[in-house]
């Protein structure tokens, strides 16, 4: 299906693809890194700190903090324009997507009234099918494993 930023259409304008909220670069230094593990040597500690700070950087780059962002300045007419653009794009996409053939119910008949009004299944047929199903069930329930040898053997080491 594609992730949020994937796009097959290279003609999108800069306005459309510019993120609304710029990703927040990490400004907080990693605190609590010193002294929490007094046993390790200083070089191992700085490696750990470097790892932790890289993880923090990566996470911060992937997270968009909505509350910390500045107020979004969008002109009302521009807002309406964008809303209209998005909704037309949505309708175009939804109509052009192929219908899921597998989920559509196949038509069984073109004469539903005739098919539904015709004679019901004779009781003798129902009895016979029930008997056959009972035999099949009984046969299947008798399937069992006939263990002849052990499944796990020891290799004989001379």
């Amino acid at each position: 299906m594609g992730c949020c930023y994937s796009s097959e259409n290279e003609n999108t304008t800069q306005e459309e693809t510019k993120p609304l909220i710029s990703p927040n670069p990490p400004s907080k230094p990693l605190n609590g890194g010193t002294g929490w593990n007094p046993g390790t040597s200083s070089s191992a500690l700085s490696n750990e700190q470097a790892l932790l700070s890289s993880i923090l950087t990566k996470t911060a780059q992937n997270i968009i903090d909505v509350s910390a962002a500045d107020a979004i300045m969008v002109e009302p007419h521009e807002y309406m324009d964008r809303a209209r653009q998005y909704s037309t794009k949505m309708t175009v996409l939804s109509t052009s997507l192929p219908q899921n053939k597998a989920l559509a119910l196949p038509s069984l008949t073109s004469q539903p009234h005739q098919v539904l009004a015709s004679d019901l299944v004779p009781y003798s047929d129902v009895q016979q099918v029930s008997k056959i199903a009972a035999y099949a069930y009984s046969a299947i329930s008798q399937i069992k494993v006939d263990a002849k040898e052990d499944l796990v053997v020891q290799f004989a080491i001379p």
Binding site: A104, T109, Q111, P112, H113, L116, A117
Partner: protein, 100 residues
């Protein structure tokens, strides 16, 4: 096909106790003992959807025209035509075949 045209034929089915006409969006028409019976509609839809996926080997089409759910006193007969599912509840009092 107008709903009236769909249901008129179902009304005339002998010994019918009620019917449902169901589409992907929901119940289009209902009458008799099946009037407003959304639960039965849901169950029948699921059953016929599952059954219409059966295929006999070497065939591309579903191997049946009508699905019958046979209970003690009545039968639900179900078929699909033109993206619509038709369910008719009919009287069923054949038990032992009477041999004279």
């Amino acid at each position: 096909m107008a709903t009236a045209a769909l249901t008129a034929g179902l009304e005339r089915i002998p010994d019918q106790l009620g019917y449902l006409v169901i589409s992907e969006d929901g119940v289009l028409a209902s009458a008799g003992e099946l009037e407003n019976d959304e639960h039965t509609a849901g169950v029948m839809m699921q059953m016929v959807r599952t059954a219409s996926r059966f295929r006999l080997s070497g065939s591309a089409d579903p191997p049946f025209k009508r699905m019958s759910v046979i209970l003690d006193d009545f039968v639900y007969t179900v078929t699909v035509s033109g993206q619509k599912v038709f369910v008719v509840k009919r009287q069923h009092n054949q038990k032992e075949p009477i041999s004279v």
